[in-house]
């Protein structure tokens, strides 16, 4: 089997990730932050180690600013909804996933509006111009997908962060596709909330994601700003009826997914040991090869910028719907994803078919031989 659906979730995982999850489940899976016994403290320790690992990977000195969530969608919901207030305006890009579009759309009912800037330009200047022209006096938040989940397009988050800072606008970054392949510096990029999954480029298990808040959110009056929408127990201040006023516990109600977080900790260490640059270069090499082959194949339409770098290839084949082609590839032992990839805005921006396209996405565990096998099987399918 060839697995080319790594933008959905990476597979396989490093051996150390499997070992870490199993060790946690077998030997120390107490409820973290609840009790004083050895198993609970051991689970809490692993969680703190993972917070530290995340903070250092994204150049933060504050492990306590890491909030664990189930996935990026939860992270983005918390980041957006905790910061937005009635009367505010939010700007999102035209490449955003539904994990951004749907939350901001739901806020319309709460008196919060949103606009869309064009991020499908190849030049940074054009993207920044589009953002500037869409900023309103009440724009309080700008959201940017760092790397698109359907195409090798990367937004200039450092420049957008600078713009946000100069206009006193909060900056939320969706790093679902870039965490693990880009060296992201939360301070240099002026990011207020960095949202990422554990199970994609960081090679952890499904069931964990996180928000890394900037240090700016350490000493706010949360009742005035960071709103909660999930409340419950978290082992501290139990007498009080409201959630603690500080991060991360303010947003961590209920038991955390300790085994998944233990796996993520191992995944982060794997990524650090290999290096984000090496992983990016490897995926990009595979993308370049496949793009080259497909661009010389009759009946194939490729989408997205021709000169961009990344680990994703989006295409369609004449006489096949995207799902028909994905099904044929599946029967040939190749896993890809077809359809709209939860990103109707981005598909519209890239002008794909109404029913989307086929996406190939790589990880560090893929190789050039798999690309060649993929092409042979694709050619056979197309010739039938």
């Amino acid at each position: 089997m060839i697995y080319f659906d790594n933008a959905a979730t990476t597979f396989p995982k490093p051996e150390s990730v499997y070992d870490s999850v199993q060790d946690c489940m077998r030997y120390y899976c107490g409820n973290p932050g609840r009790s004083g016994h050895k198993l609970s403290v051991a689970a809490s320790k692993k969680i703190y180690e993972c917070r530290s690992c995340i903070a250092s990977m994204f150049h933060s000195d504050s492990p306590e600013q890491v909030v664990f969530t189930y996935n990026t969608t939860y992270a983005l919901n918390i980041a957006i909804k905790s910061m937005a207030c009635r009367g505010d305006h939010i700007l999102i890009s035209n490449l955003e996933h539904n994990s951004v579009l749907r939350p901001v759309n739901s806020l319309l009912a709460h008196g919060i509006s949103y606009g869309i800037y064009d991020a499908s330009y190849e030049s940074k200047e054009e993207i920044l111009r589009s953002i500037k022209s869409n900023i309103r006096p009440n724009t309080k938040i700008i959201v940017a997908i760092h790397s698109s989940n359907i195409s090798p397009i990367t937004l200039p988050i450092e420049e957008i962060g600078k713009l946000c800072k100069s206009r006193n606008i909060a900056f939320i970054v969706d790093a679902a596709q870039s965490a693990g392949t880009y060296d992201i510096d939360i301070n240099k990029c002026g990011i207020d909330a960095l949202c990422a999954p554990g199970h994609k480029g960081l090679y952890g298990p499904q069931g964990c994601g996180f928000i890394l808040f900037s240090d700016k959110y350490k000493d706010l009056i949360p009742e005035m700003y960071l709103k909660t929408f999930i409340e419950g127990g978290n082992g501290i201040n139990s007498i009080e009826k409201s959630m603690p006023s500080f991060i991360p516990e303010r947003f961590e109600a209920g038991t955390l997914a300790t085994p998944a977080i233990a796996g993520l900790d191992a995944g982060l260490r794997f990524v650090k040991s290999v290096g984000t640059e090496t992983i990016f270069a490897h995926e990009n090499k595979l993308r370049k090869r496949l793009t080259y082959i497909l661009s010389n194949t009759e009946g194939i339409t490729l989408y997205g910028p021709k000169n961009a770098d990344g680990g994703i290839v989006l295409f369609n084949a004449d006489n096949f719907t995207p799902s028909e082609l994905a099904d044929e590839l599946d029967r040939s032992g190749i896993c890809v994803r077809s359809g709209l990839h939860c990103s109707p805005l981005a598909h519209k921006a890239l002008n794909t078919r109404e029913d989307g396209a086929v996406r190939v996405s790589f990880s560090i565990f893929n190789n050039l031989n798999e690309v060649e096998v993929f092409y042979k099987k694709l050619k056979y399918i197309l010739s039938k």
């Binding site: 973290p32 932050g33 009790s35 004083g36 403290v41 809490s44 320790k45 969680i47 703190y48 917070r51 530290s52 492990p63 306590e64 350490k218 082992g235 501290i236 201040n237 139990s238 007498i239 009080e240 603690p244 500080f246 991360p248 516990e249």
Partner: protein, 72 residues
């Protein structure tokens, strides 16, 4: 040996505090503090030799780690 416990509101900060103190060779262990000893309910503490208490408090303050009270 008399031990001192510095109360810290969360397990997360308790680990951060333990790490900071560890960098200055101050050993400590994390314990759960009885809710009756605090005003807000469950919290955690760093237990250490009383000899280190003043130094530990100074280091935690320097590192902006809040601690609410000192229990003997």
């Amino acid at each position: 040996m008399t031990s001192y416990t510095i109360a810290i509101s969360t397990m997360t900060l308790a680990f951060k505090a333990q790490q900071v103190l560890g960098q200055y060779s101050i050993p400590s262990s994390i314990i759960k503090i009885d809710p009756s000893q605090t005003k807000k309910g469950c919290s955690y503490g760093l237990k250490m030799n009383y000899y280190h208490a003043d130094n530990a408090k100074r280091l935690l303050t320097q590192n902006s780690i809040k601690f609410s009270e000192l229990l003997r």
